[in-house]
């Protein structure tokens, strides 16, 4: 009992942190002191001071504003990737679990097995590297490079989410409630969409929260090697890539602040996910997912 409470104190901290990050992301235009993309070579590489709270980078851009704006990209990628993963994973997992014992289930399970046995990070690097970092143009719409990151990361999540959903649905499908509903004449779709899905919410919430954390790190890492968010758009990963060149010359504010931003945000999601796990899913469905 005590442990759940203690764990949830951490969960509470996580929620607060995420809350702050979300507010920053939403209010970035208001909170930022400068235009994050405004170049000012004369004022480059300034240490943190009154005007530039976190200093300026090699192009004279205000680091503080860039860090604030960076939350937008990171959260967007993190959340959208998870949404994608949920859409794909829940669909596949529900179908597989509902039609348990069938060939369809076998095929789906094996496919998820196969998908989780390839190193998706490397493939993401290769795919983006091969296709190029130009935005995707679909008619009048233009999707920036991060879209590719979102899609690939979402695919990374699908097997794990499908597995969790599959396990829950398999159990639920055999329950008396479902049998009763079927006798009442409810269609398969109605049953799947109703009671069964409701039982997945708890473990999936935990999983989703933890996956947002992973997604933020993946985006930062890909941006770091130039395959994620493209300059001049501010992203913590690209800021760190720029900072690399200044490691030896003592401009410590260039790597420290973006990195702290990533760490704090990810810690927030991990704390919340851990706290939620203690509350919603003490031992069962979710396993630690590695990336």
């Amino acid at each position: 009992m005590l442990r759940v409470l203690a764990g949830n104190r951490l969960g509470l901290v996580g929620t607060v942190v995420i809350g702050v990050v979300v507010i920053v992301a939403l209010l970035a235009p208001v909170l930022a002191t400068h235009d994050p993309e405004e170049v000012n070579l004369a004022g480059k590489l300034q240490a943190p001071n009154r005007e530039h709270l976190m200093g300026t980078d090699q192009s004279g851009r205000d680091v503080f504003s860039r860090v604030l704006w960076g939350t937008r990209v990171s959260l967007m990628v993190g959340v959208l990737a998870v949404v994608l993963g949920l859409l794909g994973g829940v669909t596949i997992g529900t179908i597989a679990g509902y039609y348990g014992g069938s060939l369809l289930e076998q095929v789906l399970v094996r496919s998820m097995d196969a998908l989780s046995s390839i190193p998706l990070l490397i493939w993401a690097i290769a795919v983006v590297g091969i296709i190029g970092v130009a935005p995707i143009r679909l008619g009048p719409l233009e999707f920036p490079n991060e879209t590719k990151v979102i899609l690939l990361t979402g695919v990374l999540y699908i097997p794990a989410i499908a597995r969790v959903t599959h396990a829950v649905v398999l159990v639920e499908s055999a329950s008396d409630y479902v049998r009763a509903r079927r006798a009442q004449g409810a269609s398969d779709l109605e049953i799947m969409g109703g009671e069964i899905l409701r039982n997945c919410i708890s473990p999936l919430t935990v999983q989703a929260t933890l996956f947002v954390a992973i997604g933020i790190i993946v985006e930062a890492s890909l941006s770091f090697i130039g395959l994620g968010v493209q300059p001049p758009k501010p992203s913590w990963g690209t800021m760190l890539a720029d900072a690399r060149g200044y490691v030896f010359s003592g401009e410590w504010w260039l790597p420290v602040f973006p990195g702290l931003a990533i760490s704090v945000t990810v810690i927030g999601f991990n704390l919340l996910g851990d706290g939620l796990r203690d509350l919603l899913d003490p031992r069962k469905a979710t396993t630690q997912q590695m990336v």
Partner: protein, 315 residues
């Protein structure tokens, strides 16, 4: 057991074949013929066609794939980089060991730190070490490895001067210097998995210690050491499996870490190949890493089976 292994190996092979086909097609998806890239934009049409014919690029895709995959499987020959003209296999053989070494060091570090930490956390549940370990683990899983590497370079190399700021010092320059150049990268790489494995060990052991069969052992007067030894045998089964998988994952992240530390391992081959549009090289490196990853997962599954008497006998 044998049937199980055979099934999983077969499955892994199928996955690898599918993956190789996908990566092959992917590299061909890009507009612009490699021949054109090689010869430059001023090349004349016949020159381009001629080169394409020589490189075998005019044959149907399936035939090209068949040739490539049979070369790889039968001769271990990944072909030649058409950018540098050098055989890809030897390039990979040059850079792969470096990455392997970093991963191995990270892995050893991981096991040596994570498992004892997890055990102590479990044995003294809710104690000081347990709480500290939990917080450190959350940090370890959240702090991006490549940023940690950067920070370590700033502190460890620039300020303290204990480690070289990057680059790979080959063994020929002395064991000490060689290892020194690998400490920071291996550490940055391994922290994430150390955190995961330590938490996993802890929760697994806590769970086992709650079991009825441990109660039986206590009730029959076995010594505390013996009981912990019993519990460890049960608890470490899933940990071994996760550890095997983490080797695969580490290979992927090594690519990023190597970039931070400017180490000419597999990452150099992959990323410069991508940059130079050297697709044969990209294919090869992606396939190699995929093989390692599939292998690690396969090992994890087999180990889990093999260590578990209850499921060992079943097919």
């Amino acid at each position: 057991m044998v049937r199980f292994v055979a099934r999983r190996v077969l499955f892994s092979v199928v996955v690898l074949v599918a993956a190789s086909a996908v990566i092959f097609v992917l590299t061909r998806l890009v507009p612009g013929s490699p021949a054109l890239i090689l010869l430059g934009p001023e090349a004349k049409a016949e020159q381009v066609q001629d080169l394409e014919r020589r490189l075998g690029l005019d044959r149907p895709l399936a035939v090209q794939y068949a040739r490539w995959i049979s070369d790889v499987v039968l001769h271990g020959d990944f072909g030649r980089s058409y950018i540098s003209g050098l055989p890809i296999t030897s390039e990979i053989l040059r850079t792969l060991p470096i990455t392997v070494e970093i991963v191995l060091l990270a892995f050893v570090f991981c096991l040596v730190v994570a498992v004892p930490l997890g055990i102590v956390s479990a044995l003294y549940e809710d104690g000081l070490i347990d709480h500290v370990a939990r917080i450190v683990a959350i940090a370890g899983v959240s702090v991006p490895g490549f940023w940690l590497g950067l920070m370590l370079i700033v502190c460890g190399a620039v300020h303290l001067g204990w480690f070289p700021p990057g680059g790979y010092t080959p063994l020929s320059m002395g064991l000490g210097a060689h290892l020194q150049s690998l400490v920071l990268p291996a550490f940055s790489l391994g922290i994430y998995y150390t955190a995961i494995i330590s938490r996993m060990t802890r929760s697994s052991l806590v769970e086992v210690l709650r079991q009825d069969y441990i109660r039986t052992a206590r009730a029959l007067g076995l010594s505390r050491t013996r009981i912990v030894a019993y519990a460890l045998k049960n608890a470490l089964i899933p940990v071994v499996s996760v550890a095997a998988m983490s080797v695969g994952y580490m290979f992927g992240w090594a690519i990023i870490i190597e970039q931070v530390f400017n180490i000419a391992g597999l990452s150099r081959s992959l990323l410069s190949a991508l940059f130079q549009r050297d697709y044969y090289m990209v294919q090869a490196v992606v396939l190699v890493i995929t093989i390692v990853f599939v292998g690690a997962n396969l090992a994890a599954e087999i180990l889990y089976r093999a260590l578990n008497p209850r499921v060992r006998g079943t097919a």
